[in-house]
């Protein structure tokens, strides 16, 4: 199973930095599926799921950004109350720690998509699978 590659960037908190990221990806024709910005005062970390992560990583690196690739899980979540609970509770009961998570809703899908970074990705995949939680593949993310 190929994991979904999330692209993370270290950015200083000053005007225009996020715009530069967006422009770099746009010029390369790379599409952003999901994005979140975590800020810590003077700096922040931008995390993104891209339709073409390898290409996105390459162009950002070439443009001197500090960038890394991380394996994440993209799980489908029922877009109803309790949707998130089901997932995180399963992980918690199985001692899988969530480092961070962010969600997005796609136009085509009926469901919300939750991006998870966990400390044990194989175990998370297994325990969620047992609960019949659908985990999106790389190809599915690309095809959204």
């Amino acid at each position: 199973m190929t994991e979904i590659k999330q692209i993370s960037l270290f950015v200083e908190n000053r005007p225009g930095r996020t715009a530069k990221v967006a422009k770099t990806l746009s010029d390369a024709g790379v599409n952003i599926r999901a994005l979140t910005i975590a800020e810590a005062g003077d700096f922040g970390v931008i995390r993104m799921v891209l339709d073409e992560p390898e290409k996105g990583y390459k162009v950002l690196k070439e443009n001197a950004f500090t960038v890394s690739m991380t394996d994440v899980l993209a799980v489908e979540m029922k877009d109803t109350p309790g949707g998130l609970y089901e997932i995180v509770n399963t992980l918690g009961l199985n001692s899988v720690n969530v480092d961070y998570a962010y969600a997005f809703v796609t136009a085509k899908a009926q469901r919300a998509m939750l991006i998870l970074r966990v400390d044990d990705i194989a175990k998370a995949r297994k325990v969620l699978g047992e609960k019949n939680v659908k985990i999106a593949t790389k190809e599915e993310i690309q095809a959204i």
């Binding site: 270290f10 700096f43 970390v45 991380t70």
Partner: protein, 434 residues
Amino acid sequence: MSGYWDPHIERMPLEGLHALQEDRLKSVVRYVYDHSAFYRQRFKEAGVEPGDIRTLADVSKLPFTRKVDLRDNYPTGMFSAPKSQVVRYHVSSGTTGKPTVVGYTKGDIETWSESLARALTSIGLDSDDVVQVGYGYGLFTGGLGLHYGAERIGAAVLPVGTGNTERQIELMQDLGTTAIACTPSYFLHIMEVAEKMGISIKKDTQLKAGIFGAEPWSLETRKRIEDATGINAYDIYGTSEISGPLFTECHVKKGIHVWADMFLIEVLDPKTDEPVADGETGELVFTTLHKFALPLIRYRIGDLTIMNSEPCECGRTHPRIMRILGRTDDMLIIRGINVFPSQVESVLMDIPEVGDHWEILVDRKGPLDMMTVKVELTPAGFSDKIGDLMKLRKKISKELKGVLNIAAEVDLVEPGTIPRSMGKAKRVTDNRKV
């Protein structure tokens, strides 16, 4: 094992060396008294005459000179040689005040070149080497100084000067540069540019030695440079007032050899002006023993160092000074505590997540001095977990505090955002209004 340029002088037993120094000290004192109105006046004020100087220890009877004397007597008021004998001038940049002018007779240029010829030989260079001089040429002493020194040993000199970094790297490859002389911060920049060009200094060039100076740099930076490029990095020392760059470490890398036939050095306690013992930190004071256009008597450069007068394992008997801790001019006083930028450097360069470039900002908030240290995050140091980055910031802060005894704010910034320098790096911005 490398040879000697002038084995007779370089390995002279201490007794002979001291006798030579004594003779030359007496001569220079007589010479400045006879030729410079400035010194005659100074000696009179101090109640000392050339005849009072009989032994080396008598040097302590002589008055000190300082940079301010050179400024007050701008441009050539302290010179001892007539204009007809001066063959060159160098002028300091004057960034910290009025510029200072130094002059050289033909013999002074010879002595300067000879000093560097010994130094370059001591790190294993000879006529087979190609020496790329990446110091500024012109009024600054770095470029021409190294140029003459390298030519004297018969090496091929590549006088590139500063800047044009990509071209420097191309020429380094094309002409087979084996040694480069520049500021350590500029070499770090060259390393960075080479990497961007896809060139490995280790594999794609013949570079084996770097002669780095004109700004203080730490052992940790040396380690970084040597690990990354496979070269040997040597410290070079000198300032324009005493000619320019003059002395380097030898291949043993245990201190910088100061040629005792050319210079008499003292290391003094800055408070009492008494000599400190070998191994103790003090202020470096130079008396030129063989310089004629602008001889200097007990010149206080303001650099802090440690002296080692034991002969070196390389066989040279001349005294050594240890890595310069910093110039008293560079010292910051933050909340009453002395901070040398070189201390900050040595802490930072020991932390692998921190890049090679850094900056200190000092500000005053209300009554309190605030020090901020900006560091670039290396790609390897980047974690996309905010918690890890906060931890890293805390770790840097803690290690700085351990060495400096004051708290510093740490800013993590993106690689490539701290200004790179071609010459002497400007690491400190002090925004305090005094």
